[in-house]
Subunit: 428 residues, 2 copies
């Protein structure tokens, strides 16, 4: 029979148990912090009518979004982020949702760009958003969640870069730049880290604006936040000042939060505070980013909900944790393997296994009786802590032998005491 | 601006927090049982090369499978089950996996059939499989996992119907039926519950087989398992007898496991024991089903791994739990709302909030200061247990007022004792 090649698409991945254990560990930690702050989760479909995903980007978005015609000739797109599906869900359901609505969402999303190193087609994001309030306390809470997530994952030297889209617009206005050019200029500034000052200035010039150099100079952050505030004091900084004051009062360490007027997230829906989280120990891009948007639901409904949110780049966080050695060794689920000496001992081994299961101990029964060394090898490969052995001698004497796979030591335990022996140590 | 309708595709769903909390509760319970038995999890891609999903079904499978050409003109399919992607993953990775390999997988899958009531386009399945052993202990373990999953979810009156594809083939051979017709006849018998005896007999006759009535009569289960065994004693029942003996020894209650020779899962890859789980309290189809397959990986590689597994139909289980009232009330994540009396009290409320966060108490800070009754309403809608109130008077006296949203009672607590007051009750 001709074989089908067991391939997967470029930019998608299989995860074996070892890798999955690490990913679930990180996801669970992130989820726990989201829940600690009272965020509830939602889930949105994976196959979506294209117009609800592409929104106003239309055909342009088509290039960035994984989309296709299905067999019913519907135009379908897979979400490329979790913000747009969230906005759509709120537009459809805001009557049934307590406002302000704080939601988290951990799901896969898809990109249409050609996959290459560091750019996947199918990957995870972890989003939080608060929608239905314009209060800066929301922005502050999001910053606090960011610090707790990265603390909880063991990152040190995390910086949250902060800016305000409002400030950027004010500055550009002061340079007498026509408002409709703002977003194009902001997209140029957004490339600063990637392509450098010279190229950004050149890009701005190409937009017909000569003051690129002066703008960048003004937006360049100073060494300390207060120096940066001072430099820009001729502009309205009340929003940013209030935000920084709240952050201080909410015990966000000063060194974690950096006012950076050159931070210019490229998305045009931001209207206020924007965030970008970097690690000083890693030389790759943002681990988390987002900001305030005033009317994202407006694409879908007449109601006007202001929101603020950030997306944690799960794949980058995993990469960062690998690089910085932050992932602990993660144990397999099963702690005990009940071996089976030979075919004649099956029912006795089953009895032992029943005892462990009843005690709630994560454990496995040997599947292929006989050949103990093969059973030990299995336990070893799966990092199962203990192997329980009972051959005819042990059965006669009403005991079992427990072998620690870690130390290699063995100990006899009376059968009826076995689950008690493990209990407390191994119960989940 | 023209609005985009916030619709989703028929057969897909949005899940709001209340619904998600229930779904996560059930998924977590199922996951915990899988892990208790030592199953590890994997993850496979959602967008897949069509041939790896359709396998040997080819164009026929195309009708059942959600598939399309993407913008790169690749033929893509979304998985319609988790067994085929699992087989593909094993074929690609068996060298790196400890065998026997016990994996669980909880993911969305897609069907291409027209969505209607009870038939979704996008839904969850929860699968376990053991691959790499032919031992009947594997079948027994799967049966044990099934009992523990449904116990853990609170189902009573669960029956695991058991048959063997081997027995079915033997019986059909005894009726001198040409082997190549077996799977078509089995597919007819598979419809017994849906279309009734008469129609099945008619269907079998249309295949050119006259003995439909006799076959069904022979396969009809008797009242007790031992009567059914007796009725079929002229056939080789050794496999089934060994399996039932193991089940008894592994403490699977006799009344939960029913030998039903008429059970005929329609998939042609089954080769041995098959399962189907029903609830006597529900009048809809199987909650879980599966069986032994001897060569599923053979589609993808030369190695021959025998496996056995079942899929839990998550959506049907949810429906069943709703119907039988098995879903507990599920609390929201946040337990305490720290209110903010007015703009002047923000920093004092932040201090209280810091204290609770540091103590690891899931809690929320008010986002819109002032209007306490609105804050109480928010707590009430989200079912937050306690609201902490501190106005100018409380601040002066160094205390806070804690209001129980459940009883409506209020109590004064010195500020520095607040987290201690909650601790033990509320810490996660």
């Amino acid at each position: 029979m001709k074989k089908i090649s067991p391939i997967i698409l470029k930019g998608t991945r299989d995860f074996l148990p070892q890798e999955m254990a690490k990913r679930l560990y990180v996801m669970d930690r992130i989820r726990k912090i989201f829940e600690k702050f009272g965020y509830d989760t939602i889930e949105t479909p994976i196959i979506c009518p294209a117009e609800t995903i592409l929104g106003k980007y239309g055909d342009e978005g088509d290039k960035l979004t994984y989309s296709f015609n299905d067999n019913g000739d519907r135009r379908i797109a897979l979400p490329y982020d979790l913000t747009v599906p969230f906005a759509r869900l709120v537009a459809a359901n805001w009557r049934y949702i307590p406002m302000p609505f704080k939601r988290y969402q951990i799901q896969r999303v898809w990109g249409a760009e050609k996959p290459q190193k560091g750019r996947l087609r199918e990957f995870y994001q972890c989003d939080i958003d608060i929608i239905g309030t314009k209060s800066l306390i929301a922005e502050t809470e999001i910053a606090k969640v960011i610090t707790e997530v990265f603390n909880s994952l063991g990152f040190k030297n995390i910086t949250i870069r902060i800016n305000s889209r409002r400030l950027l617009n004010t500055v550009l206005k002061a340079f007498s730049i026509p408002e409709e050019k703002n977003i194009d200029i902001i997209r140029q500034i957004d490339k600063l880290d990637k392509i450098g000052e010279e190229n950004v200035i050149f890009g701005i010039e190409k937009l017909g604006i000569k003051e690129g150099k002066e703008i960048l100079k003004l937006l360049k952050p100073e060494k300390t936040n207060s120096e940066t505030f001072e430099k820009l004091e001729q502009y309205d900084l009340s929003e940013l000042k209030e935000f920084f004051k709240y952050c201080e009062e909410l015990d966000i360490p000063e060194e974690m939060i950096k006012f950076d007027p050159s931070l210019a997230r490229g998305l045009d829906y931001y209207t206020g505070i924007t965030y970008e989280v970097m690690s000083k120990d890693l030389d790759f891009g943002a681990l988390c980013a987002g900001g305030r948007y005033d009317n994202l639901c407006g694409l879908f409904c007449d109601e006007n909900f202001s929101g603020v949110g950030v997306a944690f780049g799960f794949e980058r966080i995993m990469m960062g944790m690998e690089t910085l050695n932050l992932l602990p060794a993660i144990a397999t689920n099963s702690k005990v393997l009940v071996s089976i000496f030979d075919k004649n001992c099956i029912s006795e081994s089953f009895k032992i296994y029943n005892q462990l299961l009843d005690a709630g101990i994560n454990s496995e029964i040997c599947l292929d009786p006989g050949n103990l060394s093969k059973q030990f090898k299995y336990a070893d490969r799966k990092k199962i802590l203990f192997v329980v052995i009972l051959g005819p001698d042990e059965i006669n004497e009403g005991k079992v032998m427990v072998k620690s796979m870690l130390t290699g030591k063995q100990k006899d335990i009376p059968i009826e005491q076995l689950s008690k022996y493990f209990n407390g140590y191994l119960t989940n």
